[in-house]
Amino acid sequence: MARPTRTWPVLVTFLAAIAIEIMPLPDAVQAFRPPLPAMVLIYWTMMWPERFGLFTAFALGIVLDILHGQLLGQNALALCAVTYISVRFHLQIRIFPLWQMTMTVLALLTLAAALLFVVEGIAGYGLSGLNRWPAVLCGTLLWQPVMALLDRVRMQSEMRTSNF
């Protein structure tokens, strides 16, 4: 497999995910905002684990914590755990049929949400209760289009670099 050597398209996808994460939405649909940064992270750590790994997850988590005004390290912890699994099993996940892959993503997003929930509970902040799960389900439903989009980005960056 030709390996992309340009990382800027990948960084752009991360930035776009972060932008959507903090984009103002009406109150009614806020609970359904898919956890795009986590999904993009899962994709790139699965497809390109030698470049994007736990350090990317940690940095992305810190960025999200700052932007959300949450406890510093909360998202970092959750995303590191998720990334470990996606890097560790990237060869298996990559060749899963689409529905199995979607289920894996559901499990990973659930893990991240559960970790955030536990941290909130320990830190004694207001609990989000069941409010996290609509976003997780929404993210799972959106995995296929997101993956198709990111596949395109990956193919393009590979084609571009194959001329070198």
Binding site: I18, A19, P24, L71, R88
Partner: protein, 299 residues
Amino acid sequence: MALTSVEREPGQFRNASPGLQLILLCIVSIALMALDHRNEYLTGVRKSLSVLLYPVEFLVSAPFDLSRALSESIATRDALQAENRRLQDEALMRSASLQRMAALEAENARLRALLDSTAKVGEQMLIAEIVSVDMNPFRNMIVINRGGKDGVFVGQPVIDADGIVGQITRDRHYTSEVMLVTDVDHAVPVEIARNRLRTIGVGTGELDRLSLPFLPGNADVREGDLLVTSGLGGKFPPGYPVATVKNIRGTTGQPFLEIDAAPAAALNRMREVLLIKPEGNAGMADSDDDMPPAEPEQP
């Protein structure tokens, strides 16, 4: 467990085994959370990282600000004239009531001088705009476009035209985070304007509801009562409207009433807010701004 498919360069830490990396990064993030939970050790780190991330927030909010600016600039002449007329009427009404206000303030100062108690001095305001970004969806927090560079400090009260909005919880230098009065972690000391009955307004996490959990069953509270800040906590200046009592439920056998109140400030519709600058109040701020001295009392 090592990754077989990943080629490694020896001697680089980022190529250490993922298990080791995971353990290390988990320890680092847990340590960060423990430090941050105390809320003072990491303010510098947080502030510098926020400054780095300011462009992201700016870029995200730019289209929304632009669309608002556009809709303002292409407003029709009629709409502008109507708005202008409405604003002029409003200004007239306000200045009329201010005339009485000035007289009352002077009288209040005289009476306080007679009672030998310190007079409440007027506060200075700083206008701030809300940045169009969403924070944590489970908290009631907003970002405003004023920060440490404008003299904003943590704990500073934030109001809008109708009442108390919240207080500054984090200063990000160019912007700052405001916790709204309805956040689950927020409580504001209030009194009922009608009879000065003091209590505490606790946030519920819903933008349109405050709860008053500490009033006993025989408390003199009615629907429609206005709650104003009592100034007891030392954070909020006294006398600003906070909420209106909306709903009172008393359960037999329960010592306290369950009271809901609707916040006075337009928490989900506001665009601009005001930051109250305390004027030489001891213990409120250590800002080194040169504030004008308080006016001498009337003889």
